[in-house]
């Protein structure tokens, strides 16, 4: 039972070390996604399946895709232009092995962990939702305002500066 936790923890630590010590930004981002997936397995083992799903969907699925988009737009990374590097097995054999270990870990954990649905034993997503929209209602609204400010701020910062020159002042 505990071995699943330790395997996922080791995978998370190894992939995090590879992520922060890598040379190529895209490779590091893919290692970081693997680290987030390993932490998601740990969330599942910690009786929080709803949070595990949120971690996969929002962290690994949305935030990391944003990172990858920006990295590809900027085209940084020393070897991203060389496609031949992708066929080098050394580049993808380690993350493949780590992903396979994590996948097997998750499948075996799904089979072996009895899904306890009694209320006293485990916090169900329903309780989380009820608590979110009753006790923490004000915090939810503040988070909504924060997201709104984020949208406006990202739009303002992301827009390219237009050159505003009056047509009489333009040099012919």
């Amino acid at each position: 039972m505990n071995i699943f936790f330790y395997i996922a923890a080791v995978v998370a630590l190894i992939s995090t070390i590879m992520a922060i010590s890598g040379k190529n930004a895209i490779h590091s981002l893919l290692y970081l996604i693997l680290s987030l997936l390993a932490v998601s397995v740990i969330f599942y083992l910690l009786d929080a399946p709803f949070i595990a799903a949120l971690e996969v969907i929002i962290y690994a699925g949305a935030i990391m895709v944003l990172f990858i988009f920006v990295t590809m737009m900027l085209n940084v990374g020393t070897e991203s232009s060389k496609v031949n590097k992708l066929t080098n097995p050394r580049k993808w054999i380690v993350p493949s092995i780590l992903s396979a270990i994590l996948f097997m870990d998750f499948i075996l954990a799904l089979k072996n962990v009895p899904s306890s649905t009694s209320v006293g034993q485990v916090v169900l997503p329903k309780q989380v939702g009820i608590s979110l929209f009753s006790t923490y209602l004000l915090a939810v609204e503040i988070a909504a305002i924060l997201l709104m400010a984020g949208v406006i701020g990202a739009y303002h910062l992301g827009s390219q500066k237009k050159k505003v020159t009056h047509r009489f002042l333009e040099k012919k």
């Binding site: 630590l13 920006v70 485990v122 916090v123 924060l146 910062l157």
Partner: protein, 104 residues
Amino acid sequence: MLTVPIEIQILFAGILFLLGLIGLLVRRNMIYMLMSIEIMFNSAGLVFIIAANRWKQPDGQVMFIFILAVTAVEVAIALALLLQVYHHYKTLDADAVNKLKDYN
């Protein structure tokens, strides 16, 4: 039921946070610094989930959802800023952005 001692779980979250902190301090590429901040946010959320599992209360999971919202906003703003920095300086080196530095 997971019977890993809670000290080990907290230690794991702490090591993850420390890795993020080391990455933030060591790397000068802004994308790597943002990634390290993500790792640190993630380990902070992990501590909340560990506490929620320890006391069987939903509050820890609620806090993780708030951390998720804050992280999403932070990443969006930071990446927009990063695009502007790259537009102006043509580099992602954090040390290159030093116009506020006091030269004397």
